[in-house]
């Protein structure tokens, strides 16, 4: 069953919005919001927390979060890393134009791009280029090598244009 935005209940939306709008939380705070104990605690804590919540108003929250995880609204959880302080901090955007836009070329390009670990994101775009890639490396020389060794030789690539990021102001 596909849950489009219309099929999300008001309470589901409220929890999703709350999760979306909160800035980085501690594991404890995040766990509170989704009704789980934070990972460092053991299996015993899981039972304790769930039993604490059973029969309370929090049980509904916990069940809601479980359901949203199962139906894919909540895809998972991740750490928010400080931008500009971790070593893998060089971001470059690469605009890619393909030689052809038929299904076969698109498919080959897509599969190959997904296999490049340093490519964090890839969107098909409207405009002068067909794709925008977001690439994360440690340094510019490392990016430069990746560009020639792997990106420029992706299937179907006609030309690329690179935009180097100097600073990350905000990221998802």
């Amino acid at each position: 069953m596909d849950d489009g935005p219309r099929e999300i209940s008001r309470d589901d939306r409220e929890l999703l919005d709350r999760l979306h709008d909160s800035g980085p939380l501690t594991l404890g705070q995040l766990a509170e919001m989704v009704g789980r104990p934070a990972p460092p605690e053991g299996a015993g804590a899981v039972r304790n927390t769930l039993s604490k919540w059973a029969g309370t108003s929090r049980e509904a929250d916990a069940n809601r979060a479980r359901r949203l995880e199962r139906n894919g609204s909540i895809l998972g959880y991740r750490a928010v890393l400080a931008p500009n302080r971790n070593e893998l901090d060089q971001i470059a955007f690469v605009q890619v134009a393909l030689r052809a836009m038929n299904a076969e070329t698109l498919g080959a390009f897509r599969d190959a791009v997904r296999a490049i670990r340093e490519v964090e994101a890839c969107h098909m775009t409207a405009g002068d280029f067909n794709y925008l890639l977001q690439v994360r490396t440690k340094t510019i020389p490392e990016f430069r090598a990746l560009l020639t060794d792997r990106i420029a030789s992706l299937p179907g690539v006609a030309r690329t244009a690179t935009i180097i990021a100097m600073e990350t102001v905000k990221e998802a």
Binding site: T26, P39, P40, N71, I74, V80, I164, M166
Partner: protein, 152 residues
Amino acid sequence: MVAETDDLDRIDRRILDALRTDGRLSMAALADRVGLSKSPVTARVRRLEAAGFILGYRAVLDPVKLGAAQVAFVQVTLDDTTSEALETFNTAVRGTKEIEACHMIAGGFDYLLKIRTRDVGAYRKALGETISRLPHITHTSTFMAMETVKET
């Protein structure tokens, strides 16, 4: 162990890399991934949090389910790129919900923004009412994403 300076050793980097994709890995699973036992890994994570390398944790949500499936990239030019102007702009960007990402770039414009809205119509509205009103903006150029191939 993590030094007080910005030096990260190989193990810290492996920890950050793992947590970047799955923040709720149990310490046992993280220890497995990194090749250490649970206690030193837990200690390293606490240090990385305390030292501000890890700002916190968040849920990863399906944008389609959130009603924000339309991605647009906007190239933005400012009228002033002194530190004060940049700071004002950066602060406004951080407080704008539709802006999912923002990078200062080297090129023919100043910033690349990634915007999420429900659809193209909602983007058009956001452009006029929110994005173009960001401080110091003098020019915008939008290109729409038609499909997301990869997003980690």
